[in-house]
Amino acid sequence: MNRLKCLAFGIVAGGLVALSSSAIIAQQTPKTNPPKLRISGPAPGSAPQLSDPKHPASETVPAFIEWASRSGIKQRDEVRRMIGTARNDSAVARELCREVSAREKTDLSRTLVSLSILGELRNSEGEKCLTAFLRQPFPKGGTVANGEIVEQTSLGVLQAKAVDGLAFAHTETGDREVLQAAGAHPSRIVRAEAINAYLWNHHDSKAARETLLKIVRPDERSFLDRPRLEPGISREEFNRRLAVYAKLHLAPRPVKHAPGKLTVAQSVSDGIAPKPSPTPSPAPPQAKKGDR
């Protein structure tokens, strides 16, 4: 009996050693440590007023954008609250709109922040600005990089943010624009976000799905089912939804290259393979004399 216990102990101990060594392999860390984090810059500090009767919007809006842009994730509710207090100030909406127009071709990340504030504002003049932004002509061509047209993607991303604002407005006119975009906007980025935003702002209701199903492209109905990793969702719930979705959208088994040296084209990813230097063409085939 003791011998059996000893054997069992040995097996368990051996297993634990093997497990711990595999865990070490799995969690191999980078080889050199970076310096200990030191953040030297000033913290964003207290929020400046977005709407302030003592100062024109041309002063308060840029200052607020700078502050909000630097705010951290734990300040998210505070930023929303600050924006909410300016809801009825149309001068703020007009200044944000001017900011968007002035920067959309030069600084995409600032424009994204300005559009986020404008959408969160839920002001009627802001809604008009977002509508006009969404309706601006979509570029048909431009710089192709890794298969996408850079100008289309850039504007598509900004227009998707405008759609978020229109859906959040929860007005009849806003919803109409969102539904129009969900079915007919030339950018798939915008159509996808319009579907997502419409559903979210209607609590993913059955009625909202039915409305969307009437207008979305048949090949984009799957956009209605995709999981959303949003704040508050538990890992278990997200994983459950993802598993259901993944079953409907299977990927095939990965394949390997044939063994051997990679070709020049295979050795370059996302770039253009260098042209191999021309090799002298071999002499053409010829028949021996008298072989005819």
């Binding site: 842009s69 996808a192 993802l242």
Partner: protein, 296 residues
């Protein structure tokens, strides 16, 4: 690595010899910096100890970055300072939340940094003025593999010119290194699957609408221990594609950042993840990160 360095020095000397005196290389827009770059930069205020560590850990050299801010590393108009600003985000910016993050800092660092690891062979970084790519990965034998970053990751008028997208591109290109190391065939369109052109001018492959498509090998949160992203069982159950790794990284920046990561960086990370999820997956779209509330 040594042999590569010697080759590169020889190449630079050779090019210098044939260039007329005073000739200069074209470079990206060195007069602008995006809001997201400025916001992150303001937090470290140009941290010398970090970039003196970073250039070694990422194998940057003056040969490749000399006219891109190598000798002006605190001027964030230049490409090199923007590159190390992105590395700062990867190194310190993630929360590593077991209950919500797809992968951990250890995964993303090993994928982006130069040394060889379970993820890939050793790499070095350079830059190109070409605007027909965001980045590229080139396999070299012998010597280090090459990750190239383009002006589209530096010029502020392009969406991707921000620390999140720039470091996200390092994940994407690094993952090509992983595919190469394992001899995986991810397709013939620059390491991705090609799309098929239609008479109306569109180009599709399943739900993918650009020429450079991947599969999304969906996995739940917690499916990979932190540090285990490199693992595969050779089936679609446990595998990643370059765009997938990029989306997962961007989602982790957007949704699970350190409290000090600026909103501009988080928002642009979410936007990049969303456009990639919508456009680049054959069995897509991928999931969405965060909520569509405007201020998120």
């Amino acid at each position: 690595m040594m042999r590569t360095a010697i080759c590169r020095i020889a190449l630079v000397l050779a090019i210098t010899a044939v260039l007329p005196f005073g000739a200069s290389f074209a470079v990206c827009d060195q007069t602008s910096v995006s809001q997201a770059d400025s916001d992150l930069w303001a937090l470290h205020g140009c941290w010398q100890d970090f970039f003196l560590w970073q250039y070694q850990e990422y194998n940057f050299s003056s040969d490749n970055w000399g006219n891109r801010g190598w000798n002006d590393a605190c001027n964030d108009n230049f490409e090199y300072p923007k590159a190390w600003n992105a590395a700062f985000l990867t190194t310190y910016g993630l929360l590593d939340n077991n209950d919500q993050s797809f992968h951990g800092t250890t995964d993303y660092r090993q994928l982006a940094e130069a040394p060889d690891s379970n993820f890939k062979d050793s790499v070095y970084y350079d830059a190109t003025d070409a605007t027909d790519i965001f980045g590229s990965f080139t396999y070299h034998w012998p010597g280090d593999d090459e990750i190239t970053l383009s002006c589209n990751l530096f010029n502020a008028n392009v969406l991707n010119a921000n620390p999140a997208s720039r470091s996200g591109d390092s994940m994407h290109e690094g993952w090509h290194g992983w595919l190469t190391e394992g001899n995986w065939d991810n397709g013939s369109a620059g390491g991705h699957r090609p799309c098929t052109k239609h008479p109306d001018g569109t180009c599709t492959n399943g739900a993918c609408t650009v020429n450079g498509c991947d599969y999304f090998y969906f996995h739940g949160i917690g499916a990979y221990a932190f540090g285990a992203l490199w693992q595969t069982d050779g089936t679609a159950n446990r595998f990643h594609s370059p765009n997938q790794v990029q989306v997962e990284y961007l989602c982790d920046v957007s949704d699970q950042p350190q409290p000090w990561v600026p909103a501009s960086v988080r928002q642009v990370a979410a936007a990049d993840a969303a456009q990639r999820s919508a456009q680049r997956f054959i069995n897509g779209p991928g999931y969405t990160c965060g909520s569509p509330r405007p201020w998120n």
